[in-house]
């Protein structure tokens, strides 16, 4: 893909997924905490 070996493509995806995944998880944790504080989650 893109003239790159599979391992290099994996590395690029790994770095992007790591960063974007962190954003998604952090966002979920923040929302969960907010709901918990408002009494939405017991």
């Amino acid at each position: 893909m893109w003239g790159l070996p599979g391992g290099t493509v994996f590395m690029i995806f790994y770095l992007f997924v790591f960063a974007v995944g962190n954003l998604v998880v952090t966002s979920m944790l923040c929302n969960r905490k907010e709901k918990k504080e408002k009494g939405g989650i017991k």
Binding site: T8, Y14, L15, F16, F18, A19, T26, C30
Partner: protein, 479 residues
């Protein structure tokens, strides 16, 4: 010297100073100066995190390194992404909820001991003055290469700008200039890749040409698979631990308007960070194809700028390089100012000091530190560059475990934390001077020793008083 470059640079520097003086009008208290009134919204929070994570070496150094190493060099950023994960998921929210001014404030409160303020203060002051020196040297050398300016003149000009706007506007100035600088730097790099890729025929064509020069340039790893895997794991540990433990990163959480903003700001900055370095790889790759015989790899990005862009755009790109250097240094200067003003003057010299007296001391500290660092930088102390790498690992070894364990393990006490911080830092220093036995980076034995000490010493001594840890574990009933 290109006049257009100089004019663009001068306009840019004046704009940064103007922000500093505009921000100074908003400074009425310690909260305003040290932590921007704890009012920063998501945009400025993510801007200031991103600008601080992308350090002075990012454009010139990293593009040059990728020019030589190719794609495998990109693994180096995995550790910083891991540090952003540590920050946004585990640390920054709790630090914001604690809501003081400095990292020593946090240690002193969590470990109910003034000794746990003094030890980090000593570590920060010793290492951060060197940090500022290195950044002034980096900026001086960048201007020397890019504008053909005299090194001494470059360093003096840069030091004056750094000190003036940090001193005047505190965290407001730092955060706003960081955000503007991040957008200029980021925009400049993204714009550059389109021009550079167009020149070599596109992304796939770039990779094919790189493989023709040397197949290793497009390979995911260098050396054998086992050495590469070890390199990747160590790299994640070293930068993962070292970056997030930096007080200049952690204090940003105090400035955010709430814990959610601090955490999301950091997490979004992680995505920007990866995009930025991916773009840097493209610049390194295209420079390798277009200018394969550069004598100095640090000239890769400046050469692209000088050859691919008209002088006005080129001037903006050079300003972007300076922007990235400035955004790291101002943060470090502010940490030094707040450490001296808040952790030394307010706590030990004048306990009845009012806000104005503390601000005055902090501002004087910033000027003196800038002056000292400038004097060191003018002597061009080569070993200082090595000390910069050592700085990160020492702070990581000293702070990471007492910070992380302290926020998640109620049983951690002041004796354990003190032993851990001191033991981690000393192990790192000794390991470094022993020449890194077994090829292990000093931060790895440093963190292992720190972990063993905090666990064993805490369990061997008395439990922390409930009243001391209540603010960090609000639902705590009994240990």
């Amino acid at each position: 010297m290109n006049t257009t470059y100089l004019v663009v640079m001068a306009v840019y520097l004046i704009a940064m100073l103007a922000i500093g003086f505009f921000a100074s009008k908003r400074i009425e208290s310690m909260d305003d100066f040290f932590v921007a009134g704890r009012s920063l919204g998501l945009l400025v929070t993510l801007g200031t995190f991103a600008a601080t994570f992308v350090s002075s070496s990012s454009i010139i150094g990293f593009v040059g390194w990728l020019y030589v190493s190719g794609w495998s060099g990109l693994w180096a950023i995995g550790g910083t992404v891991l540090s952003i994960v540590f920050g946004s998921i585990f640390l920054l929210g709790k630090i914001r909820e604690f809501g003081q001014f400095t990292v020593p404030d946090l240690f002193a409160a969590r470990y109910y001991s003034e000794k746990m303020r003094i030890l980090p203060v000593i570590i920060i002051l010793l290492l951060y003055i060197v940090f500022v020196t290195v950044e002034i040297m980096g900026a001086g050398k960048a201007l020397e290469v890019l504008l053909n300016m005299d090194y001494t003149v470059s360093c003096i000009s840069i030091a004056i700008i750094f000190v003036l706007y940090t001193m005047a506007g505190g965290m407001f100035a730092v955060a706003w200039t960081d955000t503007i600088q991040m957008f200029i730097g980021f925009g400049a790099v993204i714009a550059s890749i389109f021009v550079a890729l167009n020149k070599v025929g596109g992304f796939t064509a770039m990779n094919i040409q790189l493989a023709q020069i040397d197949p290793g340039l497009v390979a995911p790893i260098t050396g054998t698979a086992s050495t590469a895997v070890i390199f990747i794991i160590w790299n994640h540990l070293v930068w993962g631990v070292g970056n997030i433990s930096q007080p200049s990163n952690l204090v940003r959480a105090y400035s955010a308007k709430n814990a959610k903003t601090a955490r999301l700001g950091s997490a979004i900055s992680g995505v920007i960070f990866v995009v930025f370095y991916f773009a840097s790889m493209i610049l390194g790759g295209t420079a390798r194809i277009l200018y394969p015989n550069l004598q100095d790899i640090d000239h890769a990005f400046p050469t692209l700028v000088q050859n691919l862009f008209n002088p006005v755009i080129g001037g903006i790109l050079i300003a972007a390089i300076l922007a990235i250097i400035m955004s790291t240094t101002d943060s470090v200067l502010l940490v030094i100012g707040s450490t001296i003003g808040n952790d030394i003057y307010r706590k030990y010299i004048n306990k009845d000091a009012n806000s104005n007296q503390i601000l005055k001391i902090s501002r004087i500290s910033i000027v003196i530190t800038g002056l000292l660092a400038l004097i060191f930088a003018l002597t061009k102390p080569a070993p200082v560059l090595y000390v910069q790498i050592f700085n990160y690992s020492t702070i990581g070894s000293a702070f990471f475990i007492p910070l992380m364990v302290g926020l998640y393990w109620k049983r951690a006490n002041k004796q354990g934390a003190f032993a851990s911080m001191l033991g981690g830092a000393l192990t790192n220093i000794v390991w470094y001077y022993l020449g890194q036995p077994f090829g292990l980076h000093p931060v790895i034995p440093g963190v292992i020793v720190a972990l063993i000490l905090i666990y064993s010493v805490s369990l061997a001594t008395e439990e922390p008083p409930e009243s001391a840890i209540e603010m960090f574990f609000p639902t705590s009933k009994a240990l």
